[in-house]
Symmetry: C2
Subunit: 313 residues, 2 copies
């Protein structure tokens, strides 16, 4: 049964067509008596994370984590002084380091996300999350989440949706905070991952994180990740970039009432404004598709009353 009553479940959303589209969809699939009612077990909603549930500027937060780790690990790696991309990073030259393209990013991710057990990695991320600060707002990264999206997650769950994260971000990285911050438990968090090895260490079983990509949960990988982890096609999908296009197509491609939504970053003052030419969270082809197909597009500046729980940038 759809959530009713007088309290507005989406108080941080302005009363625009976007909010109306969301509520109309939810009532169609979840309100008793609706001809389009969907059984609760099939009310699957998938959310991208970077740029959809939390911010991603000036750089992806997981990259910020990796760069902090490089600095922390540098004393144990004197050879990095003469080795790209680390040599650039240790001089504070991120642009120089990233000039090495995908290979450079792969090296940075590999040395910071492998060579330890899953439990050790969890503790490293936990420690970072509770201390590292966003360079612009000086807030904890877990505070840089979108208040309207937190309300949307809760609204969907109140209407018996099962909410999943489906992100290009690292699955083990996101699971450290997704349950506490978004109310999404580890088993409903889907992301990119490295290979794991089961080993006995001093007779105790551990899972070692290996320096090898196992799954890239981005673009066409998102519908694949959804099938692997969820095994059901979502009836609603939420993203913000070209990396989410196939996930939204997949959700919309099923029968019955479907919902696809893109968050468009249009608010340079309260958050950041970027789309077609941004190297982070590029929104180009997906925006064209959304416009052509009539998907819902959030105009952050017009549709959101409030950006972060603490206000705005």
């Amino acid at each position: 049964m759809a959530q009713t009553g007088s309290a507005d479940p989406l108080p941080s959303w302005n009363d625009t067509a976007t909010k109306k589209a969301i509520v109309t969809f939810v009532e169609r699939v979840a309100k008793a008596g609706s001809p389009d009612l969907v059984p609760p077990a099939e009310r699957i909603a998938t959310f991208d994370n970077d740029g959809t549930l939390w911010a991603e500027q000036p750089i992806y937060f997981q990259l910020a984590f990796a760069l902090d780790r490089i600095k922390a690990l540098a004393p144990m790696h004197p050879e990095w002084k003469d080795k790209e991309p680390f040599s650039f990073l240790l001089k504070g030259d991120l642009k120089g380091a990233l000039a090495g393209g995908e290979a450079a990013i792969f090296e940075i991710v590999t040395v910071t996300h492998s060579g330890m057990t899953t439990v050790e990695f969890d503790q490293i991320v936990q420690e970072w999350m509770s201390t590292a600060r966003h360079p612009v707002t000086k807030r904890l990264y877990t505070e840089m989440v979108y208040q309207p999206m937190l309300e949307l997650l809760a609204y969907l769950r109140a209407n018996e949706f099962k909410t999943f994260i489906v992100s290009g971000g690292g699955i083990d990285f996101m699971r450290v905070f997704a349950e506490r911050v978004y109310g999404v438990p580890p088993e409903q968090t889907v992301g990119s991952s490295g290979k794991l090895n089961f080993e006995l260490r001093d007779g105790k079983p551990v899972l070692m994180k290996m320096p090898e990509l196992s799954f890239n949960d981005d673009k066409t990988g998102k519908p694949v990740g959804i099938q692997m982890h969820i095994g059901r096609r979502p009836i609603a999908a939420f993203g913000n970039s070209d990396g989410d296009l196939q996930m939204l197509e997949w959700a919309r491609g099923g029968g019955g009432v479907r919902f696809a939504l893109l968050v468009h970053h249009t608010d340079a003052e309260r958050e950041w404004a970027y789309d077609r030419t941004s190297s982070i969270g590029r929104l180009d082809k997906a925006l064209d598709t959304a416009n052509a197909m009539g998907w819902t597009v959030v105009d952050m500046k017009a549709d959101w009353k409030q950006i972060f729980p603490f206000g705005s940038k």
Copy 2:
């Protein structure tokens, strides 16, 4: 809060030490006031499928499905008459076909589990499940499930456990019946899988099943599959063969109260009796470990009042 009241939640279990061990564990982690109480979110229980939730003799049921598919597809593949392992199968010589070892099995699985969309495969399995009969009992395969284990699944869920399947069987194969038969939804079913490709077919998105193994959810793969899909260590794990050893070790290796159980097939009359030398569901090293570590071992003949919902073989 632990399920209480006068009704026995496990009526198909005899009142033996095995049943007592199960109830004692559940009450320790789930009964209000227990010093070992585990928060519901962490009450994760993982179950193997073949030989643990349903039978696996005289051959794994998914192999029976594959063999039936080979027969159904043969008219479209005249070349199979002269090509092993198909030539053997078409003559009804399973032993000859399987003499080709893993390579032969891989060929059989590949041609029957790839080359179609996930939706098409789902329909093929659905059709088979509703018509194919077990060679000995003549029952539908979905009737060949263990009544005591169905009760155990329900008992755990009544005590706020989240129950998962973690099986070497194909994930897409199991999902066709796991929800209806076991009450385990697709997103809580973990298994082996082939590679998937996202494609547009006549402008509509599909996921194609490719002829390439993506993940082998057996032995050391089980703790890896658990971490990938669930992201939490189970506090209870249930299996029946050496393929489950690492999953049980992983569950037992965490802190607090833990439970590991092996189903030992000891009842030649009502089901099948096999263990250390069986090529299907071999239980050898895991039985030694269970005995050494004090894990719970179900003696099917002594512990189970009833085998299948319809009775016994």
